[in-house]
Symmetry: D2
Subunit: 88 residues, 4 copies
């Protein structure tokens, strides 16, 4: 997933640069807001892929391991990013 | 967590009933929308608690178990609800 | 729109009642979370219809009127519900 | 608001560049997701300011004008960005 996600984030970087130029050229407000919403959708897609990868590597190895404190930590982190996902 | 979540959902049920009455009494639109947003925030809180509980019971036991298909399934489910959380 | 929205909210009320029963019957956590997310999507749809109606009645008449304080108030309210919409 | 928003978007552009570097340096997944969520929160703030400005200029002048088709268009646009705001 790694190269794919880096590529996605690079595209988003360019997209945000495009929004900056739209503002500098005083483009229509609603069109700017729509582009911001498109960037948010692209960020959602990227974070979903990153979480999927995290689940299939880090989370499995920690849970199968013997360190209970570490186990609780990784599961707590996932709940936290889920909670934040409902808020931004 | 069980009784706590049931109580939260009962409160939300009453809250939605209150929104229905606001509409029947033709209350001001923006006030109705604000109450709908309050219900959404309460649902976010409830689903966070449910996910937390799920992590600390079901997910741990499945991952520590030997059924790899089942393990992939529970992790995939969490990624799915995370993805939907960014969309609703 | 009025009767349509009341009907939608009644359906949501029933849906939340169904979620309460799922919890009482100790149904699978992820299925409960998915139903909560479905309720949120239905609430989004209802609030969109209410805002649309508000725009086409109240907002137009206030903006065309002479009360500048009132005008600023209705526009400020819309910005506020938009801001909250990005958070819940 | 103009310069303020351009500055915010520039900061976001730099923030996304920082996320790209985190991925290139293989930083911890959850930390990357948290930075993505921080960018989304910053985008929400920027789009709120842009909408506020749009309301107080374009929307008021169009609604006070005589072009009913144009009036419906600007109000419809706001409902659309509100609807999308509940989804991304």
């Amino acid at each position: 997933m790694h190269q794919d996600v880096i590529k996605r984030i690079k595209t988003i970087e360019g997209h945000v640069g495009g929004i900056r130029r739209m503002l500098e050229e005083e483009k229509y407000c609603i069109d700017v807001i729509k582009q911001i919403q498109a960037v948010k959708a692209a960020l959602n897609k990227a974070s979903k892929i990153i979480l999927e990868d995290h689940m299939n590597s880090c989370v499995i190895s920690v849970i199968k391991g013997d360190d209970q404190v570490e186990r609780e930590r990784v599961l707590q982190e996932i709940t936290e990013v889920f909670e934040t996902a409902t808020k931004v």
